[in-house]
Symmetry: none
Amino acid sequence: MDRFELISRLKQSSSEKIVLLVLDGLGGLPRNNKTELETARIPNLDKLAETSETGMMVPILHGITPGSGPGHLSLFGYDPLRYIIGRGILSALGVKFPVRQGDLAARVNFATIDEHGNVTDRRAGRIKDETNRKMCELLREIEIDGVQFFIETEKEHRAALIFRGKEFSDQLSETDPQRTGVAPLSVRPLDDREATQATASMLNDFLQKVKEKLKAEHPANMILLRGWALHTAIPTFEEIFGLNACAIAGYPMYRGLASLVGMDVVEVTSGVEPQFEKLAELWGKYDFYFVHVKYTDSAGEDGNFERKVSVIEEVDKNIGKILDLKPDVLAITADHSTPAEYKAHSWHPVPLLLKSRWSRHSHGIRFGETDLSRGTLGIINSLDLMPLVMAHSGRLAKFGA
Amino acid sequence: MDRFELISRLKQSSSEKIVLLVLDGLGGLPRNNKTELETARIPNLDKLAETSETGMMVPILHGITPGSGPGHLSLFGYDPLRYIIGRGILSALGVKFPVRQGDLAARVNFATIDEHGNVTDRRAGRIKDETNRKMCELLREIEIDGVQFFIETEKEHRAALIFRGKEFSDQLSETDPQRTGVAPLSVRPLDDREATQATASMLNDFLQKVKEKLKAEHPANMILLRGWALHTAIPTFEEIFGLNACAIAGYPMYRGLASLVGMDVVEVTSGVEPQFEKLAELWGKYDFYFVHVKYTDSAGEDGNFERKVSVIEEVDKNIGKILDLKPDVLAITADHSTPAEYKAHSWHPVPLLLKSRWSRHSHGIRFGETDLSRGTLGIINSLDLMPLVMAHSGRLAKFGA
């Protein structure tokens, strides 16, 4: 019996409310012997930790650095080694495109090429959204035999591209050469299957038409394609856990991920305060609230230790807005670490605090990486979080007599 | 290679003696910041912990609350997600019925129905064991074509019912309506297989005959059936671990579980002192002694924090009776948590202490949940206990050259 079977057999209903607060990239590395989280003054979180279950979570496997997709899927209880969501699908979901089973998606960068066809700017000077929309309009005039396609503006030079109507493959090479001075690459099939060969050939024809269509434009006179992904439907969060869930997330990727598992994605301004206030506004309407704070990760990616510390302090200062709602279960954690010292996602385990009226207490544990690894839960896998959250909210019946 | 294959390949003989002391439902939740175990004065266990390996164990998976069956199977080294033992089989084992592969078993409640056939008491006024035995005698007069059946008194209104002789299915609905004022339910097949349809139909005929047979009786004039379970033989404890084992347990369920894995089940009066004395009496006759203390769990189920504390203190006071025997390996742990605050089995990890001459020491660790989660073993799965116990008793050879 696998985890999903076990949970769907044991799950039961409850009116208890769950908040999952994800501080993206929260986990850090020490500078002057203390991580970002250990440096931050967070009296409220430290106090909360004392009466909560605490621990650290390994997002995928030890040593594996998760992208945002696998990191969140694991938090949502989906084995990220079983449910592989390609970047292209995430982009499509991010622009609210209603992806269907069998769709093939890719990320688009509008780019500039010179008269020899060589890339001079991989981002077409970060064109305005308005220009992007105009280019998409133009491209929509292209026709492909037996295939429908959709191209949707994301932001600046980025768009999402979706093909529908044939049996596709996503075992394809990308066309972004990753440097300037050379021509965009053609799409190469990465395996021998007929569908792969046919898809590559269809795409190369399509790219030829794109080049023609954009010939007279500037600076966005070509597109580069990355992140090929075929969409396979996955069971929804509600099907698996019986939870009516919403996502309070400002960024397209996380909105896309939440929508992928069937959460309601609400309109909200990105930021700790507006997002926490949106939570209060929606309180009572859902069983499960996924609140995603992006700025811990952005600061980490930028290598800005101090800014990451101050985002964490801002969360601490505002945490009362969540506690005042008296959620039955509150989990505070991350999808992965983004240590400012490392300036990128990393494989290190992430902090976890889990508070309910059934949580054991973590005497003498502060909310920081070193302490948390000695917490009541020790070091678990992120996949364990959803079963724990279900149990703490009274939603899992006893297994066996 | 799975765990059992690995162990049976590496196992070797030894004369060392192992005691597994299970304090049922030992794990707790804090009241005034301390769990039952942390509240109890247990100088002997605390002292023992200092020179033992210590840790916490997750019985099944994080968040999953085990019934007694899966909880014990896991302690005995059997993956409870692979070996599923139904309640009906446990009942049959509890009355010492020699269950065979292919038998179908259910739990029986004698009940009272009125002249319209509606249930007025789901427990028939908790009839005396004597009355129960008389009713069973009566029911044994029923005949079913091609099928043998056995009904055995358990206690008060409870009995065990076993069918033998055809290919049965246990994918069946229960007949207990779980409330009064309505008729007992009929048995519905829960899948489309022929065996399931045939079993349901045989059982409904049987229930019709039961109703006829008990028509003139009162208050036990009907039976309600729950916990359908088909018995699949599982490898014995001795086959897997090469251990000649006995169970010193007073309660039917645990005696049944021990017997299921092939342990000798000895006669004993329930209680810390008599059970520990029985251990001393049997000392030397077996390799492995499973001693099961029930009252920690009962106190937890009753929500009686103080009584649970005092059972734990009673164990501490008597632990010398075990230590005096100088077992080569002593493991003290639980099958699951039953926090008095929760009044039921829970999913929380359980305490573990493992003492042998090869155990590492747990400096500064007291025998309580918060401390133990920082012990030398950290937080492991209950399935890891048997391999550890085997290793500590010199029974596992090196793996590979």
